[in-house]
């Protein structure tokens, strides 16, 4: 990083009092006050060897490797804790410094096993490298080394070899300081200091993998990567993680066309180097045997392998046949798991086929116009210096873990007051100044009330059952933060509630306090797909379809050589509801599973059962694909290049590293073929770049987004052509039924979905679903932890084990959406076998209702 301000006119070193002049090994550089010597050295292009110092953690000066000589100072201070002062003159390679470096290394190696040939870190090990560069070459120690059992499991994912550990405190500091999960610590301090968990309490942090990357030796290794490769055999590309919509930057490493490891890239804008364990270890599904490898068509009721030509013809015929019945006979769902290019191709295919019934969200998101057009939109980095943060959305720790880290950091390190509006306590509650816990499904009402109160509209009682004191406290905080860039994070709070007006009321609140909005979406490229026009009311570029003959529509029609249909399209819920009534002739599903990944499973099943023709583009034979008439195998993350858009609207590149299995193709390719068969015009694209260029030409919003500007970690932020401006907001009264527990159905980081379920790394992690209830509800029901109860809902009954959890308010029940509910206890005894009912929480949910409630019944106790 060249410092632009440090100009060659060096004379005036005194002139800028807020900058300090430091000379390191003869190189003079200017730094901000508070800069540590080790940082100043890096800036001056001087590497000071170090182990314990990490740019993203507080320095502790544990390893002593960074000792340097400072003129006019006694002793050798550690560069990692010494702040620069003006006119400081530093030497990093004098004989005395070298001698000390040799001694430090000799001591660090005194007990080190030197087992580099069998160590995963060998070849990329800071200890190995620095020993080569600065070490004494020989050791005087002849004593027996310390021995420990090699290696021990800290968790299902992380192994620890204590013999290799140099006690730098990076892993333990990370766990405490960054992740907020201090589950590992130094124990038996003294001659046998080592890192350990509490007995029987594994290091189950969602961020545990970062410690492996931060460890400067091979003490911490990853279960999935252990003995898989040597660093020099790995090839790598930089890409963007495809597990959630934060879009962390990653290094994707492979050998022999298999992805073997994912590492974090330090992108200041997005992930600051960290990854969640799902992003880091969730790639094994790529090489799973269950991957689809060839297209299939249904012949005499059976899905059989077919050639690409046959499958494309069959799919195009089916779509064309249905299209004759008018636009509403077609439904296109998906795109949020694809690249933006493929999503664009999907949206285009829908429109060319004659319908606006296209949706990338599966009835589990927020208004598309809000997601793309939120205004003024916050960036992730805005959180660092926000005057306040309001989180009204899912449990970020479970759904957008690295965003959680950023919010937590803002609250804890920068002192940003955090207001949480959630139907139950979340991972962020411990850091929140106020947690406005309220009735599920009424978050929008609460945000509107906050907006009103910020504008001095008196509220006699906060809505949604929130506590009046907490509400008052929240109002004080946001009033204080007015016009100082407070950020309102808004996302769907759960899948059992519709959160209809959430985008509008979040916008209203942001307006009232002069703040910014950061909408959050669930799947990795939901934003990209919406920007590509995969929403009934949006065109590529995020312009409003209904705005008629505006510039964007004309540009698109010109690019496509076709009129864009003008009927009012249906969103996912509308499409599935109509399909369930038997009114849809053809459904085209791209990475969209209506049976296991749609909030309303009974509706999804009905829709699949009653639709005449289904095309599924996917990577696995999902229950939905298994019911389709044509199945196309798609390339996915790591196998195709293209761009993705994160929650901020940041466009970055995903890069192909390995080959997709069998004859799988990137989705844009087969969509182009289908478009050509339907329109009768030749297919247009030979690479994802062709698609990108067409999209950029068609959608004015993408005009700024050039291929060059999205290279690298920073990418470029795209803004929708039409910004979101909500109309008058009305909060329809919530119709509740006779049932007495409101359902909160959030997603857990580790589910048992098509992808996570096929990663061996996660297989040993317990993903059994339990229903969580407040202790008062538990005693009212007279049940204990682990006992199975029946949740009686409008759609179905679900037998599930209960667990006391006071983060759930009384009168609510929290159930994980993405896990299989295993009914236990009574059943097992009755049937004499472990009864695994593949019943899902989604069976319970009526997605057409604003909220879902259940009655909880105890089961007859077995005699």
């Amino acid at each position: 990083m060249a410092d632009t301000k440090a100009s060659p006119e060096a004379e005036e070193s005194q002139a800028s009092p807020e900058r300090l002049k430091v000379t390191i090994d003869g190189v003079t550089t200017e730094v901000e006050p508070g800069t540590l010597l080790i940082e100043a050295a890096l800036k001056a292009g001087k590497y000071i060897p170090h182990f314990c110092w990490h740019p993203r953690m507080k320095p502790v000066a544990k390893c002593r490797m960074c000792l340097v000589e400072v003129e006019d100072q006694r002793g050798l201070p550690p560069a990692c804790t010494t702040p620069c002062s003006n006119e400081m003159v530093v030497h990093t390679d004098t004989p005395i410094v070298q001698q000390v470096q040799e001694s430090v290394l000799e001591l660090l190696l005194a007990n080190h096993p030197l087992d580099c040939p069998v160590c995963d870190r060998g070849g990329e090990c800071p200890l190995q490298d620095q020993t080569m560069a600065y070490g004494p070459g020989e050791s005087r120690f002849v004593e027996e080394k310390r021995h420990y059992e090699k290696p021990i499991a800290l968790s299902e994912l992380v192994l620890l070899d204590r013999e290799r550990c140099i006690l730098c405190d990076r892993c333990t500091r990370f766990a405490d300081e960054v992740a907020g999960d201090p589950l590992i610590a130094f124990v038996e301090r003294g001659n046998r200091t080592h890192v350990l968990t509490f007995p029987d309490e594994p290091f189950r942090s969602y961020f545990s993998g970062n410690t492996i990357e931060a460890c400067p030796v091979g003490a911490l290794t990853a279960v999935p990567y252990r003995f898989k490769a040597r660093p020099w055999d790995l090839e790598e590309v930089e890409s963007t993680c495809a597990q959630c919509a934060v879009g962390c930057r990653v290094k994707l490493q492979s050998s022999s066309s298999r992805v073997l490891r994912v590492l974090g890239v330090d992108s200041e804008e997005v992930n600051q180097g960290w990854l969640c364990d799902k992003g880091r270890f969730g790639f094994e599904y790529l090489h799973h045997d269950d991957r689809l490898t060839a297209p299939m068509i249904r012949i005499d009721g059976e899905l059989v392998e077919a050639s690409w030509g046959e499958a494309l013809d069959a799919a195009a015929d089916g779509i064309k046949r249905a299209a004759k019945e008018g636009p509403d006979a077609l439904g296109f769902l998906g795109g949020s798991r694809s690249t933006t290019e493929s999503a664009y191709a999907f949206s285009k295919l829908a429109r060319i086929a004659g319908t606006n019934n296209v949706d990338a969200q599966l009835g589990d998101g927020l208004e598309a116009a809000f997601l793309v057009g939120a205004n003024p939109r916050a960036s992730i980095a805005n959180l660092d210096s926000a005057a306040a943060i309001v989180v009204a959305g899912p449990d970020l720790k479970e759904e957008l873990p690295v965003l959680y880290l950023r919010v937590k950091q803002a609250a804890l390190k920068n002192g940003v007051p955090l207001i949480e509006c959630s139907p139950m306590q979340t991972g962020l509650s411990r850091y929140a100044a106020v947690s406005l816990i309220h009735r599920a499904g009424e978050t929008a009402q609460l945000l509107s009330a906050l907006a009103g109160a910020a504008q001095r509209e008196p509220t006699d009682r906060p809505p949604a059952g929130a506590s009046a004191t907490d509400f008052q406290r929240a109002v004080e905080i946001i009033s204080e933060a007015c016009d100082k860039n407070a950020v309102v994070i808004a996302g769907r709070t759960g899948l059992a509630t519709s959160d209809g007006e959430l985008g509008a009321s979040a916008t209203q609140l942001a307006e009232a306090i002069g703040g910014l909005v950061l909408p959050v979406a669930h799947r990795a490229n939901t934003m990209g797909a919406l920007f590509a026009g995969c929403a009934p009311d949006l065109l590529p570029g995020g312009s409003r379809l209904a705005d008629g003959d505006g510039g964007s529509r004309a540009a698109i029609e010109k690019a496509w050589g076709r009129a864009v249909p003008s009927h009012e399209g249906r969103d996912a819920s509308g499409i599935v509801t109509e399909a369930a009534r038997g009114n849809v002739g053809a459904l085209v599903l791209m990475g969209a599973d209506l049976i296991d990944d749609f909030p309303d499973r009974s509706l999804g099943l009905e829709a699949i059962g009653r639709t005449g023709f289904i095309v599924a583009i996917d990577i696995f034979m999902t229950p939905t694909a298994a019911a389709a008439d044509v199945v196309f195998p798609a390339a996915t993350f790591g196998e195709q290049s293209g761009c993705v858009v994160n929650i901020e609207g940041r466009v970055t590149r995903q890069v192909a590293k390995v080959a997709p299995p069998g004859s799988s193709q990137p989705e844009w390719y087969l969509l182009d073929q289908l478009t050509s068969r339907i329109s009768g015009k030749p297919a247009r694209w030979t690479s994802h770049q062709d698609v990108f260029e067409e999209m950029a030409a068609a959608a004015p919003a993408f005009a700024e987004v050039t291929r060059a500007s999205i290279e690298g970690a920073k990418g470029t932020v795209v803004r929708a052509s039409d910004t979101y401006a909500p109309q008058e907001i009305e909060h329809p009264p919530i119709a509740t039924d006779q049932y007495n527990h409101r359902v909160i159905a959030g997603r857990k980081l580790y589910g048992d979905g098509q992808v996570s379920g096929r990663c061996t790394a996660f297989r040993r992690i317990d993903t059994k679903a339990v229903a969580r209830l407040n202790s008062r509800d538990m005693s009212r029901l007279g049940v204990e932890d682990g006992v199975a109860v029946r949740l009686r809902g409008a759609r179905a009954d679900l037998e599930i084990a209960v667990m006391t959890d006071d983060s759930v308010p009384e009168g609510s029940v929290s159930v994980p959406f993405n896990r299989i509910a295993t009914s236990s206890g009574a059943d097992e005894k009755e049937t004499g076998e472990s009864a695994l009912h593949p019943i899902r929480v989604a069976d319970l949910i009526d997605s057409t209702a604003a909220v879902n409630e259940v009655r909880i019944e105890t089961l007859e106790s077995p005699a």
């Binding site: 999960d181 610590a185 003294g190 350990l196 309490e201």
Partner: protein, 192 residues
């Protein structure tokens, strides 16, 4: 374990003495140990819960101090100093002798649970090296013969002869009241 109602009250009072509740970790660990006679994992877990810490953090502290016994201990505790003065005066041989006589290793209790033997760092009685403690009572200039008789009385559950007096019965007596003088609890109620 779970704190008795009485000890739970004491725990709350101790916590209230500190502006930051974590600071109460050492006294609470002593309290847990005084209730059980040793510091069990459940004891550490409970302390962690009271203080809003992770058990690993409490474990990290507890495992630094030899005075916290993380294994069920014998009725009497013999602590042999192993630091430099004592070592030069033969504490290694002393320890070996005691192990032999007890028939159990350092860091363990005798099979009948009579005596627990441990090695400790400097007892600040270097002038009387080699030295040891039995239940906190100092024994100085301990010869091999003296050690034998100390061990024998300890095994019989008696207080050995020749000690310097009991400073406090730290390990075996339940903590009656926090060792912090009442008057210091000015900020009582804060900090938890």
């Amino acid at each position: 374990m779970s704190f008795s109602a009485e000890n739970r009250r004491i725990a709350d009072r101790i916590v209230a003495q500190y502006p930051q509740s974590e600071s109460a970790v050492l006294p609470l660990l002593h309290l847990a140990q005084s209730q059980d006679g040793w510091l069990s994992p459940d004891g550490m877990r409970e302390v962690a819960e009271i203080l809003g810490l992770e058990p690993a953090q409490v474990f990290s502290v507890a495992s630094f101090y030899t005075m916290y016994l993380r294994e069920p201990a014998g009725k009497k505790i013999i602590s042999v100093c192993n630091n430099i003065s004592c070592m030069l005066q033969g504490s290694d041989e002393l320890l070996e002798r005691i192990e032999h006589r007890l028939g159990s290793k350092c860091g363990h209790s005798t099979s009948g649970g009579e005596v627990y033997l441990e090695e400790v760092e400097c007892l600040a009685a270097c002038g009387g090296a080699p030295c040891l403690q039995v239940d906190g009572e100092y024994f100085e200039n301990v010869t091999i013969e003296a050690a034998d008789s100390i061990v024998d009385s300890a095994m019989r559950g008696e207080r050995p002869e020749g000690g310097k007096g009991l400073p406090s019965d730290f390990y075996s007596e339940p903590l009656g009241a926090p060792s912090i003088p009442e008057g210091l609890g000015a900020n009582e109620g804060e900090g938890s």
